[in-house]
């Protein structure tokens, strides 16, 4: 069963614009992670934010976490055509070691 839902399901922007994706989840978590998947390929880990953190940056990525609202957002700044992919949040619910559950995903299309 999936733990998270992402919004929007699909997002189309032009190169240079920022892209924001949101993730909502249902139970308390140890951490929340974001992954990227190019079409038909494996997933690549982007960034992890722990339950006691509120914001984290990595290059052009900015992740926020609001545990009171059980939600997270991923911001990609100055997007590039190469950022075109599906993005998934993944959560590890508290007390479920080794069980990482993925959200529904956002398909991002960046056009030139």
């Amino acid at each position: 069963s999936q733990q998270g839902e992402e919004d929007p399901q699909a997002l189309s922007i032009q190169e240079g614009e920022n892209a924001t994706m949101n993730c909502s989840y249902k139970t308390s978590i140890n951490n929340l992670q974001w992954y990227r998947q190019n079409s038909g390929r494996g997933l690549v880990h982007l960034i992890l934010i722990r339950s006691n953190e509120r914001e984290k940056h990595s290059g052009r990525l900015r992740v926020t976490l609001d545990t009171s609202k059980k939600s997270s957002s991923l911001l990609i700044t100055a997007s590039r055509a190469a950022d075109t992919a599906s993005y998934f949040c993944a959560t590890q619910p508290t007390g479920t070691a080794s069980k990482l559950t993925f959200g529904t995903g956002t398909r991002l299309q960046v056009t030139l």
């Binding site: 951490n31 038909g40 080794s98 990482l100 529904t104």
Partner: protein, 114 residues
């Protein structure tokens, strides 16, 4: 070596066939995972091995049989599959089973069951 290698990349099998998917990592990771992903859906956890022992089975039908011969290898044996089992099968590994903080994924095996 920071790769998880899956073979084959593509597999077509009939419902009476027996086949195996293979996964290999040489990063010294002690947790390995099988996920199933249908088109335009998120990956769904099937099995988790921690220190070469099966620790999680997400109520997967017995026609899927996992095996972890050693800390670097993970197999998924397939027998009498159904057409609805057609999907991308992803293997992943992570350094420590308990923390589960970063999964490394292979490129997957695209399975078609006829």
């Amino acid at each position: 070596d920071t790769e998880v290698t899956q073979t084959p990349k593509h597999l077509v099998m009939g419902m009476t066939n027996k086949k195996s998917l293979k996964c290999e990592q040489h990063m010294g990771h002690r947790a390995m995972y099988w996920y199933k992903q249908k088109a335009k859906k998120p990956p769904e956890l099937m099995f988790v091995y921690s220190y070469e022992k099966l620790s999680i089975n997400e109520s997967v039908p017995s026609r899927f049989s996992p095996e972890c011969p050693n800390s670097s290898l993970l197999n998924l044996h397939l027998h009498a599959l159904q057409p609805e089992d057609s999907a991308l099968y992803l293997c992943a590994s992570s350094p420590q089973p308990a923390t589960n903080e970063k999964l490394f994924f292979g490129s997957g095996t695209q399975l078609s069951v006829l």
